[in-house]
Symmetry: D2
Subunit: 467 residues, 4 copies
């Protein structure tokens, strides 16, 4: 079978969740974490895990697979008892062979007892640190940056007085993108890199539980009230039912939340730094309609991520919005294609053009991005076979020109169709009648509510905040 | 864990698929059937199976689970070789204990060799026939009506000259709803009850393959051209690369396609008897807006089935359509709720109200139906907690007042909230500000393209076509 | 991988167990059946199942695999509650494709409610009956004789007044070998064919439980006292805490317990019809030493089945007994050979000649039987490579000359090396210095304690008691 | 369910296997390792793994379970290609929660590339080293000593010039028992602690493959010729088809092979340091008969480990050897006892006294050891229930008085019945008529062929060679 990325989507690489409730017993917090991770499943479908802390002891379960698969046996959750829990969902950018070993939380013993570490992001100086630590005798059992984070903290723990101070020191050494949730023998420690590339927010439940999650939709899922973002550069410690902040690194670097979270990664019902994701997507669609209008009969989305932008385009242009593709909700991102089937048949299975709507029509198709271009080409072909008179493609992000080093799998130059071809060239390759992208200068306009932070657009501009 | 029907949805009970290609070898047709069943997965998620015929021998694989689960090991499909294949997805209305035994196709030996039988529907005189056959020494190894169908055919096969004649004779005895796909040692036989309760259509692939499927979306998935519906009362035989029809039962009963296929069961991109399902839903929304207007700020759907109706309502009323609920695409209909979680939390995980859109707003919510009312009540509560000023519920079908005996799991009277309470009563119970249903007399209006057939509305009216 | 029968052993095809305790509740009896089947696992390792009766309802679980695998999830046993339980272990003589469907107990509905049927044996007129029933419209969902048994009972149930009478009538029709355990809505019915080919015994537990099992070792395992054999031709009914017998068929045919049960199938610690199996094997070894002496240095067994016979040979001959083969206890009868390995390597993995004991020695090797001769040839080769000066093979049964029609898998003529070659010819093919078999006339001598019954030796003589 | 050690056996903790063939390609060596590990399965049944090296890259698969389970999917072995392979079977002495993480080979990245490490033994200064490394920032992801071994090697690799030199340096630091097999980017390195506590031998295949294994039975299984033991203190390097030795540590400590390998752990067909294991056991039985004779009617073994000693006792005493216990070959050491069953019933399932042999007899029972005494007591009780007139227990090892720190799970003082009670006291507790153990001074007599080495008897004497 072909375990390929049928829909040629960019993948987020992780989602984080943590909950702490003073005095909690039993497996209630593990169950909350299960729910929180379910709400974050879109951020990683390859592996997942939950660790809980009871007194000074950490127990955990993790494996490759979706949350419902990995925690299928109800005894697993029931056996994870404690007053704090952390969870993780992930994609692996490394070889699948290693994926079981790379599942998180990374649970380890070190000089001060046990730690469970959950990490979302990418450490750009990981190779340098890896080599440095190796010279001191370090061994690596995974291929994740998380292990580098762990070593960095462990090396600073002696003499730091506390785990949070060790984390703080580690943050001065680690360069790149990271949101971290760490469980120590007594504490929950949460941290975010000074640029704040990857999202991380904080909420409270009515019962006094502290909750942290990559996206606000996970707070909603566990009925926690959103309180605020974890600030870029901030370290938060929860201990003995109290929360403290270390803020010395806040403001030491420009805020750089990943703009592609708004365009594609995050769930539309999540609010990140004050900006509702669904709004960003609608706005992108409206901007496309303003800047790249076209005479057409219908606007259709590539479901599901293209839906809000297509709605925005339709609203702005006055062209009717139509659900032109039927979507098969049962072949997820991980759909396995049997050997006997062509890639085209796999795409067709997932997205079925509705001939009645398309036949003879001039169609505007709105999608969030084009990576390699292969799937987009098949979609255009399917629309033409369904009788589309014209196919005009509108993309709610700028062209991918540069790889991402901050925790997504935007691939290298040679695989990015926009790096190798002009917009006209891409349009020809995929067979569309016209093609237009959101402009770089439009990006600020799709996040008008972004309260207190800038954003990273390096994959579109090559302006890497840190390297 | 609680294996409950979190979202209180009515379940279709089966989907059928078959393909025949003269001279075909290898596992290509099994792979096509895999794809066809993937496209029909929404019609049954509890068990599935595929049988293939090679010369006079039938081999098969079936089990409980989704198609991707049951056929996960690629060797299974690769081992199913033949020139014809039939497949089935199902829900079980009986106890889960029996579900493995009840998986279809039902593969059996009888006087004339092997048969593989796939059935969608419900035989209303099954109990009578069961007792009759029992008196003759019959034994039953499943609790499905399919076994009654099998016995009825087997008993008429001797002296019938052919399997199709035996099927034809059986159809005179079997009362109720059935679409059948049967594979005999040399033939593929397809039949539909004279009322045509459950859909079944026929298509051709460019390579000369004959394809049959419950819905046209499965023809699309395997790139087959829709040719026509299997007619109510018709028997089709495919043999030696030729297709023949037995039509003597066609027209002997009024056509009664299930109208709830249009409202909820079928995929929106399927066309049944000439009527595009998505259009029916949009129309239902428009009709609701015309007949039950309300002063409101936004229209929101209960995703996913409420989306087209909500769009229709918004379009007709001019009230803005907003995606007011974020949907978790990873907890399917079969989501298992851990013991530690309340039903409310499970619903919240699946549907997350977007506070920014809802707060302070008068909201029209469009859903397809209300069965027991429990989930609807939770949804209204979630909207109020999110700050909705008013919640007006519009249902794109009439109230369920009667159980269904034709192959769906519309439950018995005592569980139907509308059977026990007036519309006002239901409105109070679920806590909405207003509640309105599509009228019985509106049903014909939502299927204007329905080409050559009437429909069954017994669950709303009690007018049972056959009992 | 090669799923071959590495050790070329003959396979018994089934083991039965049942327990009834008046007023029992919970899953205690299912657990006892689990233990009873564990003790009978040697009689069938391909599939197994347990059914329990609670009031008039039967629930069950069965699948392919060993008992520990099929009932691995402790919830399965815990969920099987009732006051009576039946269990089955089996080999399949039919194609592996069908094995899941063929697992027993066969649980069915018929005119009088539910039945669970467990069968050990082979119905010689199954094909005749199958065709007769087919003409009446019967359908078959398995390829087992058990289904023929079920139909025969079901057809006679109407008008029989009771299940036991129906079983009694069925016994007059069924020809061949069968031990049956049947659970009806209120009763446990146990029966054995008039020849009594396959063993079946009865015991009581101190708590008043009635226990039935293929071998006495299963009674021992559940701490039941052996009471007596189920008599050939007998029907036993347990109901309302009472046991009754129907004995009209007892004595209507000569007793014909399978002698190969003593030679190979049964566990050495089982007593069948008064004869301890281990004693039979020791005696066979002694007889071989008396009739086929040889100048040799050591006697070694093919473990495990050859051990008692080799001990007998050593004791009688005065030649030292030595454990000349190390046995790998972890590659069972179902050992799967990876593609990369030769058959010889697989045999070597299982049986490792101890060079120190064998080198330069004249070796007598005692085994229970030779079927195809391939594995025996490899074993002789391994002994020569280990330095054996001479290899003398002594077989504790006569040569297989005829297939078995009574429930074992002694294969057809063309696969039996002794059917195709003389003893001398076999000796040359397998490369031994001498070869001798137990004589036909010695068979009575190895079962001196056999209390009240004759035995079947058809596989050695062709004297088939029933055909 | 109760996952207890039903038979109260001491568990070896590991088995090692490695094979190197210059220029080998494909998965042949992985398949050989599969076979080698199958032959060593008795040394560890909790987890297993295989790693192969191809050029500088290591790929691997490991998990909890038996070898046949973990490598059930044939694609796993087929995907492990290379010219060298290492494998491991293990028990876990730590909590089961951690077992998946603790499976070996431990595969890691360090300063010089990848390593795969297999370890059998116990590092007595592991805690000291662990703390030392922790102070330098080390993190631990398992709870095995293997990780300590890995860090020790990694810390000395820089500046050592070669992996073998690093291993050599590490051996000066590591105290305790260890046999090691290490695969580096180009080499296979094999080492044994200077005392040689745990066995490790070397053989060659006719095709030039170098093979290393914990026991010679694994060499036999892959048809390798035994060449010699890996010497205590020796480091062997295989590289570019050549083998070299580092012998500077040989002879620096007295040889101390674990004597319990001969008594219980090793397979009887293995030869360790020139001593055939089966011979040791027979001799132990003879010595018991000489020193502790008793008037009795039969000698019976506790199968399987007591068989050779019971044979020796019978031979020396002239009392007939009888297989007094039937053994269930299907409940392995890992047998899971369902909740509904008593421990006694679980023991009875495994070992079934043959009443015919035992009733009215004075019985000598030979077993290899008594740990906690619970199971022994049940066995004595079962024999008395079977009618034994007298039960005399003879143990083929001295009483366990001290825990083992060298890689077995002989438990702590408080669990050792012999530490808490005199021989007479133990005899009373278990209910035997007499009880005698092999003497400390008899130990040398059971290993007369032991060629060039002394042995460790610390568990009997407290004379710990290293602490």
């Amino acid at each position: 079978m072909h375990n390929e990325n049928i829909t040629d989507e960019i993948r987020e690489e992780c989602g984080l969740f943590a909950i702490y409730k003073h005095g909690a017993e039993g497996s209630h917090l593990a169950a909350q974490t299960y729910i929180g991770l379910m709400a974050l499943q879109h951020r990683g479908q390859e592996a997942c895990g939950i660790a809980v802390g009871h007194n000074r002891e950490i127990s955990f379960h993790k494996d490759t697979g979706l949350i419902e698969e990995v925690f299928k046996d109800e005894k697993i959750i029931a056996g994870l008892e404690g007053n704090r829990a952390v969870g993780h969902v992930r994609y692996s950018s490394s070889s699948s062979k290693k994926s079981k070993e790379n599942a998180q939380p990374l649970v380890l013993n070190y000089a001060k007892g046990q730690l469970a570490i959950c990490h979302n992001g990418n450490i750009v100086n990981a190779d340098v640190l890896r080599k440095e630590y190796e010279q001191g005798g370090a061994i690596y059992q995974t291929t994740t940056d998380t292990e580098i984070v762990a070593y960095t903290i462990a090396r600073h723990r002696i003499g730091s007085g506390s785990i949070e101070n060790a984390v703080f020191k580690a943050m001065k050494i680690l360069k790149g993108a990271y949101s971290l949730i760490i469980m120590s023998p007594r504490k929950l420690v949460v941290a975010r890199d000074p640029h704040g590339f990857r999202p991380l927010c904080f909420g409270m439940k009515a019962d006094g539980s502290f909750v942290f999650a990559s996206e606000s939709c996970a707070l909603d899922a566990v009925d926690a009230e959103f309180v605020r973002e974890v600030r870029p550069g901030e370290v938060i410690v929860v201990e003995e039912g109290q929360m403290r902040e270390l803020t010395d690194l806040c403001g030491t670097a420009p805020s750089k939340i990943c703009v592609f979270e708004y365009i594609y990664f995050a769930r539309p019902d999540s609010t990140i730094h004050g900006q509702l994701v669904n709004d960003s997507r609608r706005l992108a669609g409206k901007l496309l309609a303003q800047k790249y209008p076209v005479e057409a009969d219908i606007v259709i989305p590539l479901p599901d991520s293209g839906v809000p932008s297509a709605m925005g385009y339709a609203e702005e242009s006055g062209i009717p919005y139509v659900e032109g593709f039927g979507k098969n909700r049962y072949c997820g991102r991980t759909f396995i294609r049997p050997d006997q089937l062509s890639r085209e048949q796999a795409v067709r299975l997932k997205l079925n053009p509705v001939k009645k709507y398309i036949e003879g029509k001039r169609v505007v198709v709105v999608d969030d991005s084009i990576v390699r271009g292969t799937t987009t080409g098949i979609n255009v072909k399917l629309l033409r076979e369904a009788g589309a008179a014209e196919v005009h493609l509108r993309i709610s992000s700028p062209p991918f020109l540069y790889p991402c080093y901050y925790g997504t799998d935007v691939p290298n130059f040679d695989q990015l169709i926009s790096h190798k071809h002009s917009v006209d060239g891409v349009c020809k390759i995929i067979g569309a009648d016209s093609l237009a992208y959101l402009g770089i200068d439009d990006l600020p306009k799709i996040v008008p509510d972004l309260c207190d932070t800038g954003f990273c657009n390096a994959c579109f501009t090559g302006n890497y905040p840190v390297l």
